[in-house]
């Protein structure tokens, strides 16, 4: 509680009081924090590539390079490698969505999820190549047609039939996960389709051990492969199921207040026990599940709109659809289950001593929490808020007070957007550098609707702000 700048990674103090930090020390501490995050990113990248390389190395260690003598063998070997790589990628994908703390604190959950999707496309190709190449390879070797190979395998092996089923299920998941298609489904349908992934993975497991000689019983390769699969499954179970259940049981969260903060938004205050051990920081988000019959099955990701205390957390929610509309009428006393906190839209992402916070619409909520919880010297912070109408400047009174107390500049851009710029017409032509001349030496945090955020990020690039200093968080939901 005593330091206001992050001297250690992990949990910079959620400083409720902000004595003016020595600017030199603050700059050095944030630079160190940035360097450590870069190092973590490097190590995670190395780890990811190592898992993929390791899967191919298992094949090589088993004498794989002697299996390229004939066309049939070569095609078969490539098919085996494709299957190994695809499975390794599948493990990486699962780890990226397992909410593993080190991954979340390095990439941020939104980046991890988009990497998950990118890898997913590669994995689907790998799986298809695995099936096609092996059929061809077996056909060359056995001198029969691929169709005959397929029907032969289908007739002979239960595990093969499971593997075919798994491929079909993963193809369905892959197609339904593509953004264009996803928008057509409600969340629950998308979630159900995604759950079939687990069924598909389970169905693909038997043939990996029974049909491949590589992972035959008693072989060291089999042990390695089982360890990889087991570790992935354990991470999923621990961080996505067990930890949230423990959090929910420990903190016993209950809605204590629902306050309107605009024509279409409410602040929801939640009270619970031992919230200091939950470790949430201003700017982070949690998956909220309000335990009423209508809402219990819908987890909603919402950012904290105030720095949490040991007893309370607050979110601010705008009416954006059927689910969030019901939240506007939430009753105090409602029990709450949470997963999280997640995200790097926090003080932990800072790399410089100066900071610019840019928010629009309900994206103002995490900006408000971040402003409260991050450290800066007076004059070294600027807050820029944007909305179509003054009503939509959510929490602006609180932000005005905080800015005055902490010595931060505040700019309110109200009205229609000027062309495709991120500013309102009243500020037409304004750049980030016009609001904060020192912005190139600052961290820039951006939160708001996707299209508007893209415009801010484009302007940040034009202003020459290094990408490592620009932090944005996106919600696909």
């Amino acid at each position: 509680m005593s330091t206001t700048y992050p001297t250690t990674i992990g949990r910079p103090s959620p400083a409720t009081t902000h004595p003016t930090p020595a600017p030199g020390r603050l700059a050095a501490a944030y630079r160190r924090q940035g360097a450590r995050r870069e190092l973590r990113r490097d190590l995670l990248t190395v780890a990811g590539w190592s898992i993929v390389a390791g899967s191919v190395a298992l094949f090589l260690a088993d004498g794989g390079m002697t299996q390229f003598g004939t066309i049939g063998d070569a095609v078969t070997s490539l098919g085996i490698i494709a299957g190994l790589v695809a499975t390794a990628l599948m493990c990486l994908m699962l780890l990226l969505t397992a909410r593993v703390p080190v991954i979340d604190q390095t990439l941020g959950q939104d980046r991890a999820t988009s990497l998950h999707a990118t890898i997913g496309r590669g994995m689907v190709f790998g799986l298809l190549a695995h099936g096609v190449l092996l059929l061809l390879g077996y056909s060359f070797t056995g001198r029969i047609t691929p169709i005959k190979t397929f029907t032969g395998l289908w007739a002979d092996s239960t595990d093969f039939r499971w593997a075919v089923l798994a491929t079909a299920m993963l193809a369905v998941v892959g197609i339904s996960s593509m953004v264009a298609v996803r928008r057509k489904y409600p969340y629950e349908a998308w979630f159900a389709i995604h759950l079939t992934t687990y069924a598909a993975i389970a169905a693909s497991l038997p043939h990996q051990f029974s049909m491949s000689g590589l992972f035959a019983e008693g072989k060291l390769e089999r042990t390695f492969w089982m360890l990889l699969l087991f570790a992935t499954g354990a991470a999923m179970l621990a961080f996505r199921v067990i930890l949230p259940v423990i959090s929910t049981l420990t903190h016993r969260l209950t809605v204590t207040a629902v306050t309107p903060v605009g024509p279409d938004a409410v602040s929801i205050e939640v009270t619970g026990r031992k919230l200091d051990t939950l470790g949430a920081r201003g700017g982070q988000w949690l998956n909220w599940r309000f335990l009423t019959p209508a809402l219990a099955l819908q987890p909603h990701p919402f950012s904290l709109s105030a720095d949490p205390t040991d007893r309370t957390m607050r979110i601010t929610v705008r009416d954006l659809g059927a689910g969030t509309a019901r939240l506007q009428h939430l009753k105090p006393g409602t029990k709450v289950a949470v997963e999280g906190p997640y995200g790097m839209f926090t003080d932990a992402a800072r790399t410089r001593d100066k900071v610019v916070l840019v928010g629009a619409g309900i994206g103002i909520a995490p900006i408000r929490a971040l402003l409260e919880s991050t450290s800066f010297a007076p004059g070294h912070a600027v807050v820029i808020l944007r909305a179509h109408t003054a009503d939509e400047l959510y929490l602006v009174d609180e932000i005005r007070t905080l800015c005055a107390q902490r010595g931060a500049g505040l700019h309110l851009l109200v009205g229609p957007r000027a062309w495709d710029s991120w500013v309102s017409t009243s500020y037409a032509g304004a750049q980030l550098t016009d609001f904060a001349p020192w912005v190139r030496e600052a961290d820039v945090f951006v939160c708001g609707p996707n299209a508007w955020m893209d415009a801010v990020l484009a302007n940040a690039r034009e202003c020459g702000i290094p990408a490592s200093q620009v932090h944005d968080e996106r919600f696909t939901w």
Binding site: A61, G63, S157
Partner: protein, 173 residues
């Protein structure tokens, strides 16, 4: 991607692949030498018991196909030793597709029925075995020896089959 990150990831991947390659190569060499010794010994025994001349070419083929791919356990068992007819169980020969074990019955010094058991789990291996073993069997019965050429397209099956068979024949004292 920073340069540091890219090069570290590339270096790690290449290192891991090289390690795998190295293990695979070392493994292959060990197998080759073991098999070579085994083949040499069994050739001598075979020549002694079955009085068949072993041609260099045949021996070469066998050892060539076996090296680097097949491991054999040398636990042959003999059973059913009745007058004039005896059954010999060959060693179990394993490779990446499973293991295969040949049982041979010798009546009055002549190889008669040959059967085999397999642990191959996949349809491809099973169909290759089903295609190759009748050919191998008839060749062996004709030659009265394990020194026959392997069936093309079934190199590994042939190697396992003939090596196991040879180890069964080796038990004939």
């Amino acid at each position: 991607m920073s340069t540091r990150r890219t090069s570290a990831a590339a270096l790690a991947s290449v290192g891991i692949l090289a390690t795998g390659w190295g293990i695979g190569t070392a493994h292959g060499k060990t197998l080759t030498s073991t098999t070579a010794t085994g083949t040499g010994a069994s050739t001598t025994t075979a020549a002694g018991t079955t009085s068949k001349t072993t041609t260099g070419a045949a021996a070469g083929t066998t050892s060539g196909t076996t090296s680097g791919t097949t491991t054999g356990t040398t636990s042959g068992t003999t059973s059913g030793s009745t007058a004039g007819s005896a059954t010999y169980v060959g060693s179990r020969q394993s490779d990446r597709w499973g293991s295969l074990q040949v049982t041979v019955t010798v009546t009055s010094g002549k190889i008669t029925p040959i059967t085999y058991t397999t642990t191959a789990g996949d349809g491809k291996s099973l169909s290759i075995e089903a295609r190759a073993t009748p050919t191998l069997k008839s060749e062996v019965l004709a030659a009265q020896s394990a020194q026959v050429s392997s069936v093309s397209g079934a190199t590994y099956t042939s190697a396992k089959y003939l090596t196991s068979l040879q180890s069964a024949l080796d038990q004939i004292g």
